[in-house]
Symmetry: C3
Subunit: 151 residues, 3 copies
C-alpha cells in the first residue's frame, strides 16, 4: 500500500467510525435493538461507572431491549476525536440526550430529562466493518429539564 493509500485509508476509517456513532443514534431513536447489537463486537461493552456495566451480547440485549423503550432517548453526537491504529481505534464523542424520566430515577416519572456527557469509545474493525468494542459513558449531568443542571 502506498503512502497515499494509507493516508486515504485513515480518513476513510475515521469517516466510517463517525458514521457508526451517528447510525447508533438513529438506531437508538428507532429503539432498534437488533441494529444496535450488530454495532458491537461479540465481546462489546457499555459502561457507565459507577451505575452500571453491560458486557457481551446478552447483557447488551438486556440494555437495549428493556431499557430504551422506557426512556425513549434522542441522542445527538458532537466533538468527535478519533485515533486510528490499524484495526483498532479509540475516540471521544460528546453527546446530548433528550429522554423521559422513569420511576427508577430520582426525578418524577414522565418528566422531560436532559443529559449530556461524553463517550470514551474503543472501536474495532471486524470483517471489514468498524464496531464498538467498548462505550464508556462519562456523565456530565442527567437532570429534569425543569430543574436544570446547576446546583
Amino acid at each position: 500500500m502506498t503512502d497515499l493509500a494509507a493516508r486515504i485509508q485513515v480518513l476513510e476509517d475515521k469517516d466510517a467510525i463517525r458514521e457508526l456513532t451517528a447510525k447508533y443514534c438513529y438506531a437508538v431513536v428507532r429503539q432498534d435493538c437488533e441494529a444496535l447489537l450488530k454495532m458491537f463486537t461479540d465481546d462489546g461493552e457499555f459502561l457507565m461507572a459507577p451505575q452500571f456495566e453491560f458486557r457481551g451480547r446478552e447483557q447488551l440485549a438486556a440494555l437495549y431491549r428493556d431499557k430504551i423503550e422506557e426512556v425513549a432517548p434522542k441522542p445527538f453526537i458532537q466533538n468527535h476525536v478519533i485515533d486510528v491504529d490499524g484495526d483498532q481505534a479509540t475516540g471521544n464523542c460528546a453527546v446530548e440526550i433528550r429522554l423521559c424520566a422513569v420511576e427508577i430515577r430520582l426525578v418524577d416519572a414522565g418528566q422531560a430529562v436532559t443529559a449530556c456527557g461524553h463517550y470514551n469509545d474503543v472501536y474495532r474493525r471486524v470483517a471489514g466493518e468498524w464496531k464498538f468494542a467498548r462505550r464508556d459513558f462519562e456523565l456530565y449531568h442527567w437532570v429534569s429539564l425543569a430543574e436544570g443542571w446547576a446546583g
Copy 2:
C-alpha cells in the same frame, strides 16, 4: 480516474455535503432567503409530513422569505450519515432547533421553543456544486421549553 482519486473524490464529496448542511444553518440564522434558495436544485423540495410541503423555487421562497422571520430558528446539525453515488447522494442528519413560537402554534406566541428531529436528505451535484434536491424533515418533537418533550 485512478482508484485513489475516486476514493478521495468520495471523501471530498462527503465533506462538501456536510458543509452544505452547515452553511444552510448559518443562512437560516441570518434569515438569508437568497442564499438558502441557491442551496436547492431548481426542483428542490422541503417536506414535513403531514404538516406541509414546499416544492420548487417559488414555494421554497415563500417558506424562507415569510416563515423564518417569525420563528427565528437556530439549527444545529449532528449525526450526519451520507451515501454518495456519483452525482447523487442521500443522507441523514439530525438537528436541534431553538426557535420562538408564533400564534399559529398551539403554544403561546413569543415562547421559547425547542425542536429536534432528523432530515432524510437527497443531494444532487449541479454544475460541480452539491445542492439539496430534497429535505424531508422527520420531527421528534416541537415543544415549548417550559413544557418539555415528555408526556
Copy 3:
C-alpha cells in the same frame, strides 16, 4: 507534491482542525487551562464583541484560569465549515453551551444557563500543528434555562 497528495492534505487539515475544536471542548470541560493555552498561537485571541477581548497568552490565561471554574461550561460543536489556504485557515463552527450563572450575569447566581452562537475562527499551522489564531464568538443568546431565549 502530486495533486492527489495535495487533495489528501486538505482533507487531513480539515480533519485536524475539526479535532482541534473538539479537543478544545474537552479541555474546557476539564477546566484544563494549560491544554487550552497550547491550542492557541502565541498571539492568539478570544473575542466576544462588545463584551470582552483577550489577546495573547497572558490575557487568555486570565480567561481560562479565572473564569471557567465559575461557570463550568460544557460546550458542544456543530455546523463546522472550514476553508484551508496553506498554513492558514478560516472557519465557522456553531456551539451550544451549558453552564452555570455567576453573579456578574443579570440572571441569578447558580442558575442553569444555556447559550449558543458561533465562532468565526482563524486557524494557523505552527510547527506542523493547527492552532487557534483567533476565536471570535458571535452570541445568539445567553439565557437562564428557566427563562429561555424568546422575548
